[in-house]
Symmetry: C2
Subunit: 279 residues, 2 copies
């Protein structure tokens, strides 16, 4: 992709595209707006077809290509796949099919986990699809010859986060059930390997402390991803020059009744407007 | 729809079509195979787009028409909508668009509830979509001038049933949380207003008994629906004459990893073969 200086300057000011199966990816947008506040962001949540985490890899790839093409039409300069399931099974295919930079959440999460765990076994909580894909073990193996990954599918945590049921005995018991095998197998850190899980960080941390008697590191891949995106944009000379706060366009394929409430919860700021599109 | 005697005889032996957003509708198939054992059944689970319960009515109608057309192409004599959400928001539209009998799960469930509650307030546990649609209050009002319906959206119960997490403290605590407001508002019976919920009948019954100190009726709409279908087929002279056990064809739009296990759990019999189709 060669470009003249004028085209390059225009490309820097183009928006970042971010997509997820639903609204969980807004935790990544939240982190991006802290880390790269000037960037305009177009977010697409495929809320009509959420969740992806229980679907076959073939279906996830088909859906991810559809989402990416919507963002391409909006003139984005790069796409952040703010979904662990898509990052786990469809990233290579997106890179083959599309002529722009594609960044996922797995590699940044794996890198942060390797740093935090210092060679000790890494526990990963994620959707069934992400765990089945072995994406975290592969990403960690590429970064460290020592680190071992112990995966645990935690589908109920997705439902609890979507419902906003993030406090009290039920989230703690569910977290306990998923953490117990990780701790038993020797995990010394826990990666929140699904963009929904940062909302449940408190009960997860409480149960992890109760099970181990220690404060083990919990890795939030949303922040690790935002760091990665910021570095990438700077290195490729793709960071915008804007100093005012960037815009945020929200696109969804279906508008659930409690959309505004759920989106604000994930995003950490009030949602004013949202556009529904067909895929 | 007039037909000559030969056509009528052929139509009697045609299969029944049954569809649901996912696999929960197999609880209705389970009941149908007990009640009408000779009928051949074609079941379609739209597993690539499950769940419907959190989607907008427009999206549910569009998906339901797609499912119905697949069954029509298989030559079914009638369609059983084995999904409360679709029955709640899309039944009228299906009847307008399609030229064959369409039976839902709401009216049979409401009728069984009116009989069981004998004029006392009826509690309904269902998806957010079903509760928002007011379908149960409307169906009950058409049957009884006395009965009052108290609805409670219970989305976490869907996730628990899908995960097979149907025993122990978590399902009981979740059931308690959803039953408590129903009991507080005076419900004297509980309708399982989602085809997933029969799998959780035990913890629901235990918590209902714990909250009230009584054994209040719990209405399983799967069985009420099978009764309704059997009556309908007999009255319309559409029941098959077969004496051997009918066949069961399973179609899905995506094959989740644990499909066989989950399907067997809902169906109550071993699943041998399943065909994946595109919608």
């Amino acid at each position: 992709m060669s470009a003249n200086p004028l085209e390059k300057a225009a490309r820097r000011e183009a928006p970042l595209g971010v997509f997820d199966s639903g609204l969980g990816g807004l935790t990544v947008v939240h982190a991006l707006r802290e880390k790269c506040p000037g960037e305009n962001i177009v977010y697409l949540g495929d809320t009509a077809r959420v969740p992806y985490g229980t679907r076959s890899p073939e279906t996830v790839v088909r859906y991810a290509l559809g989402c990416s093409r919507v963002l391409l039409k909006r003139g984005v300069k790069a796409i952040v796949v703010a979904c662990n399931t898509v990052s786990a099974v469809a990233l290579d295919m997106l890179r083959i099919e599309l002529d722009l930079p594609i960044l996922g959440v797995i590699v940044p999460g794996a890198r942060a986990a390797v740093e935090a765990s210092q060679g000790a076994p890494i526990g990963v909580l994620a959707t069934t699809g992400t765990i089945s894909s072995n994406a975290y073990p592969r990403a960690v193996a590429a970064l460290s010859t020592r680190a071992v990954v112990i995966g645990q599918a935690a589908p109920l945590l997705v439902s609890l986060a979507e419902e906003g049921w993030v406090d009290g005995q039920v989230p703690r018991l569910v977290a306990q059930r998923y953490l117990e095998p990780l701790v038993r197998k020797g995990a010394r850190s826990v990666v929140l390997g699904c963009t929904h899980f940062p909302l449940l960080k408190k009960p997860i941390a409480e149960e992890l402390a109760a099970l181990t008697g220690e404060n083990l590191p919990i890795v939030d891949s949303a922040y690790a991803t935002a760091d990665d995106v910021a570095t990438f944009l700077t290195e490729r000379n793709l960071a915008c020059t804007r100093t005012e706060r960037g815009t945020l366009d929200l696109l969804v394929t279906d508008v659930p009744k409690s959309f505004r409430e759920v989106a604000s919860r994930f995003l950490g700021e009030t949602v004013d407007e949202v556009h529904q599109i067909d895929l």
